[in-house]
Amino acid sequence: MASDSSNIVLYTTQTPNGVKISITLEELGLPYKVEKINISQNTQKEPWFTAINPNGRIPALTDTFTDGQTINLFESGSIMQYLVERYDTEYKISYPRGTREWFETNNWLFFQNAGVGPMQGQSNHFTRYAPEKIEYGINRYQNETRRLYGVLDKHLAKNNYAYITGDKCTIADIAHIGWVAAAAWAGIEIDEFPALKQWEERMTARPGVQKGRDVPEKHTSKESFKDPAQAEKRAAEARQWIVAGMKEDAAKSK
């Protein structure tokens, strides 16, 4: 159903933010090319990429716009809004612009972008990657992530909703799934949140989610987070380039 003029290239990595976009594209059945960005090699900080996204982060997306020129987009939330606005003309995973449901979808999309994502990300940092173990940092962000999961859990249970804004899966659900599926990596036990756990199972059963979460390569299984030896090996590998990247960024902004 892609318009003839579309020419979507997704710049991504196997992370919870990256898969938001591939899942959205799969749910919409749009053709797209994938450019894998090697974040352990700092590809996202190379000039050709910062010309697309000055923030040097994945995901980013380019497309041929209606005027025939290229449009560069970054920030997962705004890319999702662009894709549904331009291509979801049948409202498969969105609501018509300007409706109550459209605004409510934005509530929860932004709740993920500004809340769950950054806070769970900090929890990953202090739980898994920080070179120095700081108990306070671990507790602060694990507790905040738990609080945010509690808000979602209560919202789903209270309204008896299948999806976050009602009976339809929208970009607000897609924004959360990669993060909720990786809860164990941040030290969060999903069993504490029964309604959210059911929602996660409902989401991961969707063909579009299954296909999209394996872009650009197969996702890491939840079970591997639980094996301490395997988890530590994974964390140790990531720790090296994360710490090196932080130093490099700091040197540049001096």
């Binding site: 005027d67 331009r86 109550r100 120095e132 919202h155 960024d249």
Partner: protein
């Protein structure tokens, strides 16, 4: 229109309402009441801002979602937004960067550098570096231009100003030093804060803060320096433990 407020995020919403010239009332309350009923019935996340619009019977929370609503519903002359799809999405992109980048990281920097009683050097270092990295992204993007999208002031620019305004509070530096190394950001912030609506906003803020016993920078009255403020916070934590 009723924005409900405290902290830097509500001021984005109040400013939009002022720019659009909409009638509104502010329901301001103290920090302790945000996480409790009845407010959590409005926003289950227990955070400000939230709005209720009687014209459409719509309650909304998350500052970014509120901003998009106000623009869509009320900025019909497109004073601070665009009609064209490309510019509209570029504005959304910068708004998303503000809410997921500037907001959370400036907030964490403030927490570890100012509010948390125990000084954790590696955590302070992490978030101050991130704050500067974000200013660096803005600095580069503003090179040779006055505004983030196109040639006019939009809600995308506006969203960054309240946190920019408080950088000195976060870094504990002099106000005139807060943009050191980021001249484009400094000039941009100055363009924004010289708007009459910003000045009006600051007057309203002063009145509200005064009612809650706070100075305009958020520090309680009677505390005259950051050193005194830090000492006060330390005392509060000691008392809370005792």
């Amino acid at each position: 229109m009723e924005p409900i407020t405290s902290g830097p995020n509500p001021w984005k919403v109040v400013w939009i309402v002022e720019e659009l010239g909409l009638p509104y009332v502010i329901e301001s309350f103290s920090f302790e009441d945000v996480k409790q009923k009845p407010f959590t019935d409005i926003n289950p996340n227990g955070r400000v801002p939230a709005i209720y619009d009687p014209n459409t019977d719509l309650t909304l929370w998350e500052s970014g979602a509120i901003i998009l609503y106000l623009i869509e519903q009320y900025d019909t002359p497109h004073k601070i937004s665009y009609t064209t799809l490309k510019e509209r999405h570029l504005c959304n992109q910068w708004l998303a960067f503000q809410i997921s980048g500037q907001g959370p990281y400036f907030g964490q920097a403030a927490w570890f550098n100012v509010l948390h009683p125990e000084k954790l050097p590696s955590a302070i270092d992490r978030y101050i570096k991130e704050l500067k990295r974000i200013l660096g992204v803005l600095e580069t993007s503003l090179e040779g231009r006055e505004w983030l999208v196109g040639d006019k002031f939009t809600f995308a620019d506006l969203a960054f100003a309240p946190w920019n305004d408080r950088i000195d509070m976060v870094l504990l530096c002099k106000p005139e030093e807060k943009f050191q190394g980021f001249p484009n950001v400094e000039a941009w912030q100055k363009r924004m804060t010289s708007r009459p609506t910003w000045l009006k906003l600051m007057e309203k803020k002063a009145v509200l803060m005064d009612e809650q016993g706070l100075q305009i920078n958020g520090i309680p009255k009677g505390i005259n320096s950051y050193a005194e403020y830090e000492k006060m916070i330390e005392e509060m934590h000691k008392q809370a433990k005792a």
